[in-house]
């Protein structure tokens, strides 16, 4: 009875999936085993990704979009293009109506929009407004929202991913996972069609392009290769048309006009999907654009996607014609010449029978459901990769690649270095991302110095650098001088992102009741976590009592009891301590369970199969 569920004030938190798009965003969840997008009160599924800062407050979505022409500087459109980018990035200097704040002396190199005259907002804050609106939309439907899976373009680099995660945290979301958009689409698609094989997902969104080749084998979605361009999408088609309009009308730079003409350009693009020719009145003059002219304008953009596709096919070791299917994702794939281009490139008819605007959000909802442990499909698993090689700067400005692109995550790799000079007491560590050989052509992610190494002759010090990439695709780097044991761990974010303290501060400011609320929330979260751990430990004990060593069961039982007690109290710190204690006493048992799982997998049998053999 869904009605009962909806009106139950103690409704259990439901996991949600969010597609945070360049032009529009969606939120979806799984009901009765099927994902569905949540509409707003007007029945709209798509929330325009537009945020307007006005004297009376912040507007998000259609209302914000309506005033974009009247107050173009205060209305942020396509904020996704600025996520994780530096103030000096070429992207921030492209055709657009915004005012950017100059980079302050002590500030990190992050874009700041100047709105309402003096207020400065970062792309993270703008995106958080969109996410907050989606969260409220979900709460209206579900009462209580649990964790969220938020999608990102597969080709987003580390800084862009980190910015997205920060935005979600700022919006008060518990992020279960950052999920790559093409992988999300494949998940929604694959589960629908139940077909094994090798597929390509061609995802041309409002501002980003991704191409992913993946293998679907018995519920495992394994990405073989991915590539893209995080600054290429439908927006660029609009810009190309806008340039054409300016050529017909003469140049204009007033922000309101730029905004208007970009909107007109989008309208013309949409109209050209149906018509061969479109005529619009712009600034009192007729502007005429034919479909062949439009196709000539966007041909260079499509050419860029083609180059990336060829590279990804080569990396994946497949030919276009050999693929079992090419899936179209993103609103821009509705444009007829995009379809024709994809057809020619892959030598087959692409598919778009799941709505290209919704499919990513639907996939995100499925993954959220799986991660929240509510899904019945424990046969489904996503194996994703890093889109760009990760490396370090070595002598002569050369990049030493530590983790090559298309490495399956979670991943780790180590590399060793030594000193070149006698009595060198520090190591300069520069983490970069990209495919090029020289550091100057790569994206700089972070710099830090490992200091305090005692002076030694050149070549004696041994510096070990470990790269770790988690399942969200986020990198952390650890450097350790091995002869002395001096170590330093960095979460890679300072170059372009906001540091943790800033995010915490924003989070506190955003909460209505400040600190008290935060403690209350932490307590509630810790309680949920404690219950989860207790339940799963009990289940593990039940399943694998045979793997316990003498005395171990008693230790674990005691620790469980202590945690149960603590979880009824009001001290988050005590709860944490008890969780850590349980963690410690059950560590060896957990490792034994893992080794057995490996042994079973190597024998080619899965635990559930073994269980069914036993029961039959």
């Amino acid at each position: 009875m869904p009605l009962l569920e909806i009106f139950d004030p103690k409704a259990p938190p439901r996991p949600i999936g969010i597609d945070l798009g360049t032009t529009h965003s969606l939120v979806a969840y799984v009901r009765g085993g099927h994902p569905r997008v949540i509409a707003d009160c007007d029945g709209e599924l798509l929330l325009p990704s537009v945020v307007a800062y006005g004297p009376a407050g912040v507007l998000v979505g259609t209302k914000a979009k309506l005033q974009a022409c009247d107050s173009p500087r205060d209305t942020i459109v396509s904020v996704k293009r600025y996520m994780g980018r530096g103030a000096d990035d070429p992207e921030t200097r492209r055709l657009g109506p915004y005012d950017f704040a100059a980079r302050g002396e002590a500030q990190s190199n992050v874009v700041r929009f100047q709105v309402q005259g003096t207020t400065l907002v970062t792309p993270v804050e703008v995106s958080a407004e969109i996410l907050r609106t989606l969260k409220r939309r979900a709460e209206d439907e579900l009462r209580s929202v649990g964790g969220a899976v938020v999608t990102v373009p597969a080709y987003f680099d580390d800084a862009q991913r980190q910015a997205t995660k920060d935005a979600a945290r700022l919006a008060g979301l518990d992020v279960l996972r950052l999920l790559n958009e093409p992988t999300a689409a494949a998940l929604a698609y694959g589960l629908e069609k139940r077909q094994n094989g090798t597929f390509a997902v061609y995802d041309l969104g409002g501002g980003t392009f991704d191409i992913t080749v993946l293998v679907l084998d018995q519920g495992v979605f394994q990405v073989k290769a991915t590539g893209g361009d995080s600054a290429l999408g439908g927006d660029d088609m609009d810009r190309a048309i806008a340039q054409e309009i300016f050529e017909q009308l003469g140049p204009h730079t007033e922000p309101a006009l730029v905004r208007r003409i970009l909107d007109d350009a989008r309208g013309i693009k949409h109209a050209l999907t149906e018509s061969e020719e479109v005529e619009r009145e712009v600034l009192g003059r007729a502007v005429r654009i034919t479909r062949p002219r439009f196709e000539a304008l966007v041909a260079p953009l499509l050419g860029r996607t083609g180059a990336v596709c060829r590279r990804v096919l080569r990396d994946a070791g497949v030919r276009g014609a050999d693929l079992d299917g090419v899936i179209l994702v993103g609103g821009a794939t509705r444009v007829p010449c995009v379809r024709a281009y994809v057809r020619e490139l892959f030598e087959q008819e692409p598919r778009s029978d799941v709505d290209p605007d919704q499919v990513v959000a639907l996939g995100a909802a499925i993954q959220a459901d799986l991660l929240a442990g509510q899904g019945v499909r424990d046969d489904v698993l996503l194996l994703d990769v890093i889109p760009l090689s990760l490396g370090l700067e070595v002598g002569g400005g050369v990049v030493d690649k530590i983790l090559p692109r298309n490495t399956t995550i979670p991943a780790a790799a180590r590399a060793q270095y030594t000193t070149q000079e006698d009595r060198q007491t520090g190591f300069e560590i520069h983490v970069v991302q990209g495919e090029r050989e020289m550091v100057r052509d790569a994206r700089s992610l972070a710099r830090f110095t490992l200091k305090g190494i005692p002076p030694m002759p050149a070549g004696l010090a041994k510096l070990e650098v470990t790269f770790r990439v988690d399942a969200d695709g986020l990198l952390s780097v650890e450097a350790r001088e091995q002869t002395t044991g001096i170590a330093q761990l960095v979460q890679v974010k300072p170059s372009y992102g906001l540091d943790d303290a800033t995010v915490e501060k924003m989070l506190l400011e955003a909460l209505d009741h400040g600190e008290e609320d935060l403690v209350e929330r932490q307590l509630a979260q810790n309680r949920i976590e404690a219950h989860r751990i207790l339940a799963s430990t009990a289940k593990a004990l039940e399943a694998d009592r045979a793997l316990l060593h003498a005395g171990e069961e008693l230790c674990i039982a005691n620790a469980m009891e202590a945690l149960t007690k603590a979880s009824k109290g009001n001290e988050p710190a005590l709860m944490h301590a008890r969780m850590d204690a349980l963690d410690l006493v059950s560590k060896a048992f957990a490792e034994r369970r893992m080794n057995r799982a490996i042994a079973l997998a190597i024998e080619g049998r899965r635990v559930d199969e073994v269980a069914s053999e036993v029961s039959s």
Partner: protein, 182 residues
């Protein structure tokens, strides 16, 4: 920064994936093995379990992914096989001057083809070098097969590995140039 010391193999990727050590690899079978292990160990399988389980699973999943990354690369695979029998790969014998000369000439030809935007010449070069790399790989395969774990018979093969590295680097360069031309 500083001088890169050669890769140091810590884990035995063959053991991690439950495979008998061999240079010849049934790639689809290893791929399936990697997938089966991922099914059992991926962090997504352990959401909501205790942190000791999550950590244990994560460590194993990372190890399995690393093993697969190393084994699918013939150079890494050879490095693993040499270090298994205690042959140091960080002190390699000097590469034969004749081979080095050849590589230099190949690189020069590649540079010229790049400057002239001669995609045909680049493809010819890369096809020739790829064929040589495959030949080296099959020589390594034979060598590993016949020498088994006999150190003395394996040692002379280290030079082949050095050559394979040069050829692989050349092919990487070709791919980078192709990407630029695209």
């Amino acid at each position: 920064m500083d001088t890169h010391l050669p890769f140091n193999v810590r884990l035995d990727p063959f053991a991690t994936l439950g495979l008998a050590p061999s240079f010849v690899l049934d790639v689809p079978a290893v791929e399936r093995r990697h997938r089966d292990l991922s099914r059992a160990l991926h962090p997504d399988r352990f959401v909501g379990t205790s942190s000791s389980e999550r950590r244990a699973a994560l460590a194993k999943a990372v190890e399995v992914n690393e093993a697969w990354r190393l084994l699918r690369d013939p150079v890494r695979r050879a490095e693993v096989l040499f270090s298994r029998v205690g042959i140091p790969i960080d002190h390699q014998p000097a590469t034969e001057p004749a081979f080095l000369m050849e590589i230099l000439e190949l690189r020069e030809a590649l540079g010229e083809a790049q400057a002239a935007h001669d995609l045909g010449a680049i493809t010819r070069l890369s096809t020739a070098v790829a064929a040589r790399a495959r030949l080296l790989e099959s020589e390594l395969a034979e060598g590993f097969e016949s020498a088994r774990d006999d150190r003395d018979r394996l040692e002379p093969l280290v030079g082949r590995l050095g050559q394979l590295r040069y050829l692989q680097r050349f092919l990487d360069q070709v791919r980078a140039i192709e990407d630029d031309f695209n």
